[in-house]
């Protein structure tokens, strides 16, 4: 399932620990013993990943918040979601 297929909603994996610290998301994956830090826009997207939003909806929020055009926002969101889902930090639900 692709995180960016336009239908799937995105949520944070229940298997990771995470905090937003001074605007930066710190994510711990116990299964790999890896710690990830996201930049400001990545952290913004991470904070939206509560299972209620699609990639498109996230991109719209990103576009509004950071004043970037919709096309760029969608491309950035899809790239980030692809990376984080491949690492199993995010999970895509629903869609095809």
């Amino acid at each position: 399932m692709s995180a960016g297929n336009g239908v799937a909603t995105i949520r944070r994996s229940p298997d990771v620990a995470h905090r937003i610290v001074d605007g930066e998301a710190v994510i711990v994956d116990p299964s790999t013993q890896e710690v990830h830090i996201l930049n400001e826009t990545g952290s913004f997207v991470w904070s939206l990943a509560d299972g209620s939003m699609t990639a498109g909806a996230m991109a719209q929020r990103l576009s509004d918040a950071f004043e970037v055009d919709a096309e760029t926002a969608l491309k950035d969101v899809e790239e980030l979601l692809a990376t984080l889902t491949s690492k199993k930090l995010l999970v895509a639900e629903g869609g095809t």
């Binding site: 990771v16 995470h18 001074d22 930066e24 710190v26």
Partner: protein, 222 residues
């Protein structure tokens, strides 16, 4: 909590076992077997003859590490040096220069490998497994000291020090915990480290090991 260590031949299991429960923690390896009874405040270990002092050192390390987590603190894989009654911590990956840094400082060493961070957030004590041990109950508590600063070490051509953002600092510390058993979840560990970092400044210290180290430490609080 007191710890009692014996040395009796034992045909115990060779498979490491750690069972953590509300009342006790059981540890069994091919080198030693132990049981920590929280209600009685007593830990008993039997170390296989021939595995001293390795087995004894590890028994102490396990008990003290588990206790630190149960008390709401955590344990860092870090060295600690003392100055003016405060501990300065040095952590980093293997080869980053922890041992070299400690050896070049004109400061008493609290511990060269493991440091307990007290739940109060900024007090530390070393996991003192090098103290003289006797075949008798030994109290586990040691003196605790405020933490002055944490330095995450790296080696480089030019020595420099930079303040770590809270996110970077907690990420670096999360790569350096010492955990025994199922004493803490990653979420709890992150929460405890963040509480600690609210009170203690953290820096990345890149060192050319031919440079003097002390000036970089002093500037940390200037």
């Amino acid at each position: 909590m007191q710890i009692v260590i014996s040395a009796e031949p034992d045909s115990g299991a060779a498979i490491p076992v750690i069972q953590d429960s509300t009342h006790s923690l059981v540890v069994q390896t091919e080198h030693y077997a132990g049981r920590m009874d929280w209600e009685a405040g007593l830990a008993k270990f039997n170390v296989q003859p021939g595995f001293e002092p390795f087995g004894r050192t590890n028994a102490f390390r396990i008990v003290r590490t588990v206790l630190a987590y149960r008390e709401g603190g955590f344990v860092l894989h870090a060295g600690a040096a003392m100055k003016n009654g405060e501990a300065t911590l040095f952590c980093g990956p293997s080869g980053a220069g922890k041992t070299t840094t400690l050896s070049r400082l004109a400061r008493p060493i609290l511990h060269d490998d493991l440091v307990c961070i007290h739940p109060s957030g900024s007090r530390a004590h070393g996991l003192t497994d090098s103290r003289p041990l006797a075949w008798a109950p030994v109290a586990l508590e040691g003196p605790r000291y405020p933490v002055h600063a944490v330095f995450v070490l790296a080696q480089g051509e030019k020595s420099r020090r930079e303040r770590l953002s809270p996110a970077r600092a907690v990420a670096d510390l999360l790569l350096r915990p010492q955990v025994e058993g199922a004493a803490v979840t990653p979420d709890q560990l992150m929460e405890r480290m963040l509480r600690f970092l609210e009170r203690v400044p953290a820096f990345k210290l890149t060192l050319n090991l031919s440079d003097l180290i002390e000036p970089f430490l002093e500037e940390a609080t200037a």
